[in-house]
Structure formats: C-alpha cells, structure tokens
C-alpha cells in the first residue's frame, strides 16, 4: 500500500509538526498480515474533523480507538485535520490526507469513520474526504471505495450531511461499531457481498442508520411531508445503548500525545446521561437514561491507566459531576491514591453546594482554581422555563460560602436568547451579578476576611437543538442577540466584573445545521468546493458566504432557525428514535412556557419514554412513581405518560 512520506523539509516548514508524525507512547500499530481467521485485517480510519490537539482531547476518539483495536480482525488508525499551513504544503506536494500510525492515505482504508461532536465541523468533514481522495457522496462510491460512516452526538439529526455517509451510528459506539465493522470486513475483505447488500444488512444492525434507504418528501412550505424507509430498513432507527457501563472497556493504556493538547489528562467517565433535564440541553436528552460506572471499576481503571501513562492530572467526566451517586466514595479513593504521587484532580461541572466546596477544599490545598457555575438565566422565572432547577438563594448562599472559603469570585455562564426571554431577564443577569458583589461587601462590613471580588460573566447564545423540548422554539435573530448583548454589556461595566460573549454569526449557522434537512447538503458541498475548512475556528468563519450559498439553493435561514415550529410538524429527524418520546418533549415545551419545573430523574419519573429501555435507575423511579400514584398521595402520573408517539 502506498504510504505518504513526511520529509524533514516539510516538517520544518509547518507549525507544530508533532501533530503529524504519530508514534506516541501507547500508540497501536498492527503488523500487516492476517488476523487469526486467515483473512487480512480490516483497516479503519478513525477521523476527527478538527486539529490533533482537539481530537486527542476527545474521549470518544480514545474509547473507540481502544475498542476497535482490541479486536484482532481490525486495525484502527487516527486521522485529524491538518492545520492550514500543513494543508497548503500537502496540496503543493500533491500529498493525500494520511493516518498518523502508518501514514496511509485515507482512500486506501476499508472504512473511514468520523466522530462528530459539533455541527460546525461538517464542512471540515467534506474537506477531509477531498484531501483523502475519497468520493464525497455515498451514491458516487463504488466497490473499490471505502465505506464512510459517522457517529457522535450530532448525528441524532445528521440530515444536512445525509448524502455523504453510507452508515450513521445513532447512539453509543462501543458495541455497535465493532458489530458494523465485522460486517464491513465481510463485505470489503472477504467479498461476501456487494455494496448494496452491505448497506441493506447494515440497516438491520440496531442503531445503524443508512440514509440512502430513506426517501424524504417535502411540502410546498418546505417542511417535511414524509420520510419513507425502503428495502427493509426500519421505519424508525432506535439509538444503540450500552446499559451496563461497567461492561464497557475503557482504555487502560492511553495514548500520550506528542504535543500539548487541550485536555492533557486522564479522563474518568463517571456516568452517561444526566438526571437534570434542562430543556435547552441536547446531551441531557439523547444520553438518557443515567447509567453509572461503579467506583470499584473506576478505581481499578485509574490506577492502571495512571501507571501506564504517567499523567500528573486526572479529570472526572460527566454531564453533572455532583449527580454521581458515589462521588464521595470515589473522591476518597482518588485522593487517597494521588496523595504523595503529585497528581492533580480536576472536578468540573459541580453544583455550588456545601459538599462541592468541601470537596474543592480537599482537592486543592495550595492551588486555588477558579469556581465556575452555570445559572444559565438571570431570573428565577427564566431558570424555571429552562428547568435549571437552581434557585437564587442557592446561588447566593453558595457564593457566600465560596467567599468565606477564600475564593475571590467565580466564572458564571449564562445563555441569551432563551425562549420567552424578556429585557427583564437579560437585566436579571446583571442584577444577580451585583447581588454576588454585595455579598462580598456585606461580609467585609461584618469584619469577615474575604478577598476582593472578581466575577467573570460569559454569555452564550441559545441554539435550539433537535431532540430537546425547545426543538419547536425559534432562535432570536442576530439583531435581537446583538441588542441583548449590548444591553447587558452596558450594565456590566464595573471594575470587579469581566464580561465576554459568544459570536452571533456562528450561532445562527449552528442553529440552521442542527435542525436542518437534506436540502442543506448542496450548500455544505458548495462551501467545501469554495475551500471552507476548519471554520469552527472563529477567525475563519464566514457567515455571509453561507447565507449566499443558502440563497443560491433557494433556502432561507429563518425557516430553519427563527420560526416557531407548529406542534404537529414532521421534523427531518423524526425517523430517529433517541428513546425520549416526541410527546414528552412537547409536554416539556408546554411546561416551559408556563415556567413549570420537572423534577430530576431518580425518585421521580416523568415517563419520557426511556423508562422502557431497562435501566436500573429508570425502573426504580418509574416503580416509585406508580406506587405513589396508586397510594393516592396526590401525585398523579403525568398526563399522556403512556402515549406512544
């Protein structure tokens, strides 16, 4: 197989050549030759459409690399997006995109898989296929071309990219990906079937979505009329789930990156799913139900991986660390182990409460890292709309404790443009921040020793996502967004406050893609033709270009992003089943408009649909709810709980 040769002159001419050479400690290279069954190994290129530093920080990339390489029949290699300078140099030398492990061009792989974490990376995917000399559209690819697949959180609505992928993996890849790759191997290596037959069989694997087997028709107003499955493909593709996380292998010999990456530490995944149900959050819905790893398994993992890696930092990973049921036990074990070993522990996404502050105190006696909270909205009403489940008293009390514990302040995350947001809500952010400053002043007056306050405020712009209660909601226009930002900016002028805000241009484009349909594919294609690449890096983002291309295709960004969608609209992603029912999401949307809270999963169950999937915690919650309803304690099971739409 022809391989790319990286010569010294090329590597000397680019920034950070360590990105391109591979050869890291714990990298896996399998010798060319056959697997135990006498047939050659399947060559799989695991691609991440961003730079080495971002891709190597991604847990999914690390998990899948490990899972696929555990099988003798597969050899998985990594491919990242080269930075602009390298891309130019490669073009000048007519050098195709290649894998880090063996410098094999992308087109020479049996299967090319993209891990997709954010919509803005779509154009980079197309650019990488082109650089790797892989035909872009599934329909153009023949028997000699690689099978191109995708997975990751954004693929729950992958319609804008549907024509480019042969198979899309909905849900968790650690079991599904090897199953699919065995089928790819039967097709590509053993020659047991042709491409068409392969696609039909792939569609029969739970969680595998074959976009070409679905025909989409549209109404005159541009909404979906119907999505019809062909050739035996299931009407609805149900997400794949790993119910017992403890049975999922984790990488025990982590690859140590050559150069400094964004998160250069051992990541411990505590649990998947989130019991909170914030209404703007897609992860909170699509990763349901909550499934935990046990502290015993995690403990064994971190001890082994630390020994094999030599890391000096461990990071806990989950959607909401404070909700891990064994956090106390695990942290005791961790702190016990790392004490004296000069290893730091980083614990993100904590709620601000006594336990967390105490934990932070124990974690870092000397190193006082910053606190971060995400109230998300400035008034209690709006926090209830989004089901944030945190009260102003809790925020104020938490901050008081933090000041007394020696913190000078915190970084606060908010969202602007949330559904039902008024000027009062925007100004409420400033009011809340000033209350936090007042607490500091009052403590000082009381004679308590506190540091001079410093509050950092950061606002992101709300982006409605598929499979959330806000999938019907409009996004605020760019003009409205800018107005809100400038309103807030004027209120936050204070020497103790630092304010930063997110760009409205990328937010609009992200909103278009995240609830987009297949008609956007030609737009993305044209963008790629015009050389758009790595444009999620803000300085490279060009909104007018995308708007022009949409216009050329007769598409209106407002149709995708800015209108409130009617309750009975068929969405482009309705043939994907993420476990949570559309009827539940709609109930939640209506509750949001009434600013009504829904309690977190656990003791309470809101019958979102996931309770049928067989997770322990769901079963308990649902049973408790039914018992309460039967006991007539006044808590009725939610209306429509059993409806199946």
């Amino acid at each position: 197989m022809s391989k790319v040769k990286l010569d010294a002159a090329l590597l000397r001419s680019v920034q950070l050549p360590g990105r391109y050479v591979g050869g890291e400690y714990n990298q896996i290279v399998k010798e060319e030759g056959n697997a135990a069954d006498g047939q050659r190994r399947l060559r799989f290129a695991l691609c991440f459409p961003d730079t080495y530093e971002i891709g190597m920080s991604n847990l999914a990339v690390r998990l899948l690399y490990d899972v696929v390489n555990r099988e003798d029949a597969f050899f998985c290699e990594r491919v990242f997006a080269p930075w602009f300078d390298m891309r130019e140099a490669m073009e000048a030398r007519d050098m195709p995109l290649f894998s880090l492990e063996t410098k094999t061009p992308l087109y020479a792989f049996d299967c090319v898989g993209f891990s997709l974490s954010y919509e803005l990376a779509y154009p980079t995917v197309l650019a990488m296929l082109k650089m790797g000399r892989v035909k872009r559209r599934s329909a153009e690819r023949g028997e000699d071309d690689p099978v191109v697949i995708a997975g990751g959180p954004v693929v729950f609505n992958i319609e804008a990219m549907a024509p480019f992928f042969d198979v899309v993996q909905i849900g968790e890849g650690e079991v599904m990906l090897p199953e699919l790759l065995h089928l790819v191997r039967r097709y590509k290596v053993k020659g047991e079937m042709g491409r068409a037959e392969f696609l039909r069989r792939a569609a029969a694997i739970e969680g595998c979505y074959v976009p070409s087997l679905y025909d989409v028709s549209y109404n005159d107003d541009g909404t979906i009329r119907a999505v019809k499955a062909r050739d035996g493909a299931p009407e609805k593709v149900r997400k794949r789930l790993q119910l017992k996380l403890d049975e999922s292998p984790v990488p025990l010999r982590p690859i140590l990156p050559n150069i400094e990456i964004v998160h250069d530490r051992l990541a411990l995944e505590l649990f998947r799913g989130c019991p909170r149900g914030c209404r703007f959050c897609q992860a909170g819905q699509i990763y349901r139900p909550v499934r935990e790893r046990s502290p015993e398994v995690l403990s064994k993992q971190f001890q082994e991986a630390l020994a094999a890696g030599g890391y000096d930092e461990i990071g806990l990973l989950s959607l909401s660390t404070s909700d891990y049921s064994c956090l106390g036990t695990l942290c005791d074990q961790l702190l016990d182990f790392i004490g004296g070993r000069k290893i730091n522990l980083s614990v993100p996404s904590l709620r601000i409460d006594e336990f967390s502050l105490d934990l932070m105190e124990r974690i870092s006696k000397t190193r006082r890292r910053g606190l971060t909270f995400a109230p998300e909205a400035g008034t209690q009403r709006l926090r209830d709309v989004i089901n944030k489940g945190i009260t102003e008293e809790e925020i104020l009390e938490g901050m008081r404790k933090a000041y007394l514990g020696g913190y000078s302040g915190a970084k606060l995350y908010f969202m602007l443009g949330l559904p039902t947001e008024t000027q009062e809500d925007v100004l409420g952010i400033a009011e809340l921040v000033y209350k936090l400053l007042d607490i500091n002043r009052d403590l000082k007056k009381e004679g308590r020793k506190v540091r001079r306050p410093e509050i950092t405020v950061s606002t992101a712009l709300f982006i409605p996502k598929a499979f959330t209660p806000f999938q019907w909601a409009p996004q605020a226009s760019r003009e409205e967004m800018e107005e809100k930002v400038s309103l807030l900016r004027n209120r936050l002028r204070h020497r103790a406050i630092r304010y930063s805000w997110h760009d409205a241009d990328t937010s609009l484009w992200e909103a278009v893609l995240s609830r987009g349909d297949r008609r956007l594919a030609p737009v993305l294609e044209k963008g790629a033709e015009k050389g758009v690449y790595l444009d999620s890096w803000e300085e490279h983002f060009d909104l007018p270009l995308w708007l022009n291309l949409m216009e050329e295709e007769g598409l209106d960004p407002a149709f995708y992003a800015l209108r409130e969608r009617p309750e009975d609209e068929i969405f482009p992603w309705d043939h994907i089943d993420c476990g949570v029912k559309k009827s539940f999401l709609l109930r939640e949307y209506k509750k949001a408009k009434r600013a009504e809270l829904t309690l977190p999963c656990g003791e309470y169950c809101s019958f979102c649909g996931v309770q049928n999937l067989g997770a322990e915690r769901c079963r308990k919650g649902a049973a408790a709810m039914q018992a309460r309803a039967a006991g007539g304690k006044g808590e009725a099971v939610e209306e429509g709980a059993d409806d199946d739409t």
């Binding site: 000397r12 001419s13 050549p17 050479v21 000069k342």
Partner: protein, 253 residues
Amino acid sequence: MTTRDPLNFREQVIRLRLSWHGPLVWVAHLDRMRAVERALRRARWPLAYSQGYNPRPQIVFALPSGVGIASDAEYIDVSLEKKISPPEAAGALQEMLPAGIELREAAEIPLTAAKKLMGSVRAADYRFEHPGIAAYFEKILACEDLSVMKFSKKKEKSVNIRPLIWGSRILSEDAVRLRTAAGSRQNLRPDLVLDALHKYGGDEAYLNSKITKEELWILPKKKAGYLTCPMEAADLQPGQAPDPSRILPWDEA
C-alpha cells in the same frame, strides 16, 4: 564557606544521557520535557518537586533542542527525593521511554554540580547528513560572513553565524560535523546552518538534511581551562584528571 544545596528537598541527582530519534524529534523543548517527565513517572522514579505554589519536578535539560533536531547527547539532570540505585532505575526507565528514545548512560552526580549543568554548556557537535552535503559545506565555510535571518517571537533580525562555527570535519561526502558555540552565552541554532546552506549553497534540497546533536561540551568548573562532556564531568573526583580523549582544550576569555 560550606556549599549548601539550595534545593534542600532533594537527596540525589542522576544525570542521564539519552539518544533522541524517531517521531519525537519533531516536538519542541517543552514537549520533550513532558515526555521525559512522564517516562520517569511511569518508571516510578521518586522525583523531587520544587516547593511552593505550583510544584514541578526538577528535570533539567543541558541544552534544549529545537524542533527537528535528533540527538545522541541529550543530557538531563533529574532530582530525586529518595536515593535510588542508578543501574536498576535505569533499567526501569529504559522500558518506559517512547519509541526512538534510548537511555545511554545514567550516573549519580554531586548535588552541588547539578544546578550548574545548563550554565556550564559551551559547545556542541552537530552532524549534518544529506547526499552530497560535504561539497556544499566546503563552499559555505570558506565564507567569512554567513548572515541569515533569525526569527524570534515577533522580531526578525539578521545574524552572522560564521563566528559561531568553531570547527568542522568532513565525515563523508554525505555527512559533516560542526563544532559550534552552544549554551546560554552564545548559541548557534543548527537549523540556521541549513538556511545558510540554502542561501549561500544555493540548493533548497538541503533543507531536508538530517541534524543530529552528537556531543555537548561543558566547562566543568570555573577557569578549568578545558571543556569536557557532561558525563565525564559527572564521574570526576576532586583533583582527578578527565579522560584525555574526551577533553576539548579551552581558554576562557
């Protein structure tokens, strides 16, 4: 006056000599440090840490190598909080090094000698390899002025590197060794030599040359009158003369 170790938390200092080839040649100094630190942690060496706000392991490279420079002479002083036996610990470390990096020597050095490593470096030997490179070197070394552009952070200035090249030896048609100024006082970045070959030799192909740091020369003590390689200095007992084959005569100006 007694000399005290200012870093009193360490019990022992081990000087390593590593050879550095393979993919990690393409990373910068800080990444090389991290790679060595992690290998030492995997090998469970009892690293000594600096005290204070942000404790760091005390791992000192004699002369940082730029991106793309291979080496047979990466000298590194590692401070330890407990004493170890160098041969055993060396065996453990050898197994934990990334591909392309090998441990050549490890020896205990006196605590007082350790902190001086970086400051005592005076010269380095580099080997340049490329088909036909010797002829080009003969041509450019005849020049008195080899001015090339040097980029640092934001500035860009022209420097004449010729005075920093102290000696040369043609090893073959395809390989040349240069002895250059190195260390904190004056230092020649060897990639600038490639720029000079390009500029004065007139052939872009030489940007592809392989560069290997072959040896380092340090001043073992003030006014020593000679330079020696760092491992040699580590073994020297007071009053003992170094191995004559590993001495470079040196008169400090």
